[in-house]
Amino acid sequence: MLRFVVRRLLVAALTLVVISLVTFGLFFAVPSSPAKVMCGKNCTAEDIAQVERRLGIDQPLPRQYADFVHGVFAGRTYGEGDFRQDCPAPCLGYSFRNNQPVTEIVAQRAPVTFSIVLGGAVLWLGLGVSLGMVSALRRGTAFDRAAIGVTLAGASMQVYFFGLILLYLLVYSTGLLPFPSYTPLTESPLRWAAGLLLPWMTLGFLNSALYARLSRAQMLETLSEDFVRTARAKGLPARKVHTRHALRAAITPIVTIAGLDIGTSLGGTFITETIFGLQGLGKATVEAVQFLNLPVVMATVLLAAVFIVVANIVVDVLYAVIDPRVRLS
């Protein structure tokens, strides 16, 4: 177990190094002049040179990358004298446009995205798995057929359309819900939940379609397996057979996909955030991309990759916990 985790972590670290190299190369070697891009349209050659010096872009690329890595782990200082800007670890860069260390921007935006994704994930997993399980147990009934139809349509629906439909139906025409907004959880849990209900429903309904289809198929497969028959033959109550035996075996592939989905979404649910005007990581990326605010883009892309890699590891370990048939080696 320990060896597995260590090896897995090493591979993950290597993957992250390569991804950071690729993104770094892309964002700082490809643009004709990163400093000019970062400074904006009304900058003189002098301003640009100053930006280059202050951000260390005048150094050769390998040196820049080394500085970046050093900043992430030990912090760094930009400029000197009057322009001195301290950027404590984990320093992801300094946004010239916002006049702010990127870490601060990320720290402001991340809670919004996390709230959207985690609340949505609870809804989509709960709704999807229970719908799939019930329709598998009632295979062929009217309920099952209706569920198949709804999930088929749901799996082809897009967030940007469905979100706007909900917005129209629940906010503009009936006023049942307030327009989405973000209030920190620590400030007022009730307002936090009320403000995010609409994005949660959007993500929850749409993603649950996929999970319902998947868990239905998985459930049907495990229900026909020998160990389920044995459990029934032993005289276990149906409820116990379905949850303890069948569902536990059926849920493993669902955990994989859920883990990856959540990992990917944490990097930014930019469409949901754009529709509802929520200032999360995804919106930050979209805005930064529009102005070619390279340090912010670089940081958010890297962060998104970190979430995916971490989610992969978590899923691998969860596998062994959930499914007794899986042995890590």
Binding site: I19, Q158, I271, V289, Q290
Partner: protein, 335 residues
């Protein structure tokens, strides 16, 4: 010789009993797996309905200029006289009238139907080209890895893992404007073709992994079969074995992945356009239309409804057809 060039994938042509006229023994008709799949697909009502939907969409997209000629409306025409002082279309349901079947865009006053028809074109073109590029890369890499084994196989596997760890959507979002900055300065407007090529390249470069894995697995299992040995014993070269012996046996799963890739690309392309990273004005685009409609959801929901419904139906039809195709090509599926 013809036996050699097209070895059967399944145990052999299935034989189906056709009940003959009364009194005579039943006739037996031999059918190849491909014919059987086609029969199953034709019998599937959902598949037929979605195929018709898609054919209509493709025809409309291809005939967009013709439609424009017939109605006398260009997608860029602005009908400002049909908007009121607030820029909202005059009339019911977003200004639906005999001239403008789906109404007008609030603000700009362009004809929504024409925008949709031309947007369909953008959408389908990008999705199909990207699917072709991604499949081409995937098949090439998969065959290479499966055939070569050894270090090359491990290297390809690692490359696939790496690509999968890339946050594709966020990366696409970031990479497209940066590459554009490389080739065009602020003052020049990039040509629409450049933007489209950039999108197709990004999609292709990040979506080949699934196909590559699939093809690699198939090649590994097929390469040990007798017909490959037989071909090699008959003196066939590697190229002949790969192209004429192996590829004909794996086209079915590849076809299924292509058909399921296209709707994904349609949705992602619209998503990128939705955050202003897709094709740029004045090229009509479904995703951008939906984005533009956000501000009018309360006052003119029809503007959101038409492009949203178009993308939804397109993706749904492709998904249904892809599912049906998979079921019909899978000999194990029982329907």
């Amino acid at each position: 010789m013809s036996e050699l060039s097209h070895p059967p994938a399944a145990p052999g042509p299935d034989i189906e009993a056709v009940p003959g006229p009364a009194g005579r023994p039943a006739e037996f008709v031999g059918r190849s797996p491909g014919q059987l799949a086609w029969l199953r697909l034709k019998r599937d009502r959902t598949a037929r309905a979605s195929a018709v939907t898609l054919a209509v969409a493709a025809l409309v997209a291809l005939g967009a200029p013709l439609l424009g000629r017939l109605t006398g409306i260009d997608p860029t025409d602005k009908f400002a006289d049909r908007l009121n002082d607030f820029g909202m279309p005059i009339g019911y349901a977003g200004g639906i009238s005999a001239d403008h079947w789906l109404g007008l865009e609030p603000g700009s006053g362009r004809d929504i139907l024409m925008q949709l028809v031309y947007g369909l074109r953008t959408s389908l073109f990008i999705a199909f080209t990207s699917a072709l590029v991604a499949t081409g890369i995937g098949v090439a890499v998969g065959v290479l890895a499966g055939w070569a084994r050894g270090w090359l196989d491990s290297a390809v596997n690692w490359l696939i893992d790496l690509t999968l760890a890339f946050p594709f959507l966020i990366f696409a979002l970031a990479v497209i404007p940066i590459l554009q900055d490389r080739f065009y300065s602020d003052r020049e407007a990039p040509s629409p073709a450049f933007r489209v090529a950039l999108i197709v390249a990004t999609f292709g470069l990040f979506s080949w992994t699934y196909t590559a894995r699939l093809v690699r697995g198939q090649v590994i299992s097929l390469r040990e079969r007798e017909f490959v040995d037989a071909a090699r014993a008959a003196g066939a070269g590697t190229a002949h074995i790969l192209l004429r012996q192996l590829l004909p046996n794996i086209w079915a799963p590849i076809l299924v992945t292509v058909s399921l890739m296209v709707p994904q690309f349609i949705a992602i392309e619209a998503a990128l356009a939705f955050v202003n990273i897709g094709v740029t004005e004045p090229t009509p685009d479904l995703g951008r239309m939906i984005f533009n409609s956000i501000g009018y959801v309360a006052s003119d929901p029809w503007y959101t409804l038409f492009p949203g419904l178009t993308v939804f139906l397109l993706v749904l039809a492709f998904n249904l057809l892809g599912d049906a195709l998979r079921d019909s090509l899978d000999p194990r599926s029982t329907r």
